[in-house]
């Protein structure tokens, strides 16, 4: 597990699961200036494989240690420049995960909900297109790397 930490921003890239409730609570713990916390949790979906009856049984997430943490930190710094934020927390898992398991957590604290909602969505959109993670699905025929989606590029480009 590796971490980058500023005063109220932190990033973890880890194999272990995380406690969503504890992470949300930590964003406002002892800080009465926080008026809003928005969060997002991404999960492994049991998608049907294209043209087949079987479903994804597991996936393995690979990442680029070092660059992953730097890119997430840069995205958070960018978010802090765009909105008035009081704290951010990003956790992204790697390794083998099965459907239903949590992959990613983004939590944002701010004075008012608008900034927290927007920054949470922005961080996810940028993470999808800029953080060096790659998913490989287990299928009955063996491993298959997931293709990048154009929709993710479009979602990220609306913040340009």
């Amino acid at each position: 597990m590796s971490e980058i930490q500023r005063q109220n921003d932190s990033v973890s890239v880890q194999e272990a699961d995380f406690d969503v409730g504890a992470e949300i609570a930590a964003l406002s713990a002892g800080r009465v200036e926080v008026g809003a916390v928005a969060s997002f949790v991404g999960l492994v979906r049991a998608d049907k494989l294209s043209g087949e009856g079987s479903e994804v049984s597991a996936m393995t997430l690979e990442h680029y240690p070092g660059m992953t943490e730097k890119s997430l930190d840069a995205i958070i710094a960018d978010a802090n420049g765009r909105w008035s934020l009081l704290g951010t927390r990003v956790i992204h898992r790697f390794g083998r995960l099965v459907p239903g398991e949590r992959i990613v957590f983004v939590g944002v604290a701010s004075s008012h909900r608008g900034d927290a909602f927007a920054a949470c969505e922005f961080i996810m959109d940028y993470l999808k297109t800029r953080a060096p993670f790659w998913k490989k699905e287990d299928t009955p025929e063996g491993g298959r790397w997931v293709d990048a989606r154009e929709a993710d590029d479009e979602a990220a480009s609306r913040w340009d």
Binding site: Y64, S71, F133, W145, V146, A148
Partner: protein, 84 residues
């Protein structure tokens, strides 16, 4: 000039290498030059060829093909990212 080159995900599997250290000749000035040089090895290395959807980073920052490479750079090639 000596650089470390890393390969990730499907590209790592296709090439059969996760990393290598290369001594570059003076005519390789940019990331694009290095990519063309590697693709020129032929066979599986054509996965780095022009028109293939490959991204790259120098010293852990995503950059374009026209960025200069320098001695002791850490250079990475990988497919478009699919995290989140």
């Amino acid at each position: 000039m000596s650089v470390k080159v890393l390969y990730f995900a499907s590209l790592r599997e296709t090439l059969g290498y996760s990393h290598e250290t290369l001594t570059l000749s003076a005519d390789i000035a940019t990331l694009g030059d290095l990519r063309a040089h590697l693709a020129h090895r032929g066979g599986v290395w054509e996965a780095l060829g022009e028109g293939r959807n490959v991204r790259a980073a120098i010293n852990q920052e995503m950059v374009g093909a026209d960025v200069a490479v320098a001695d002791r750079d850490e250079i990475a090639f990988f497919p478009p990212v699919t995290g989140g």
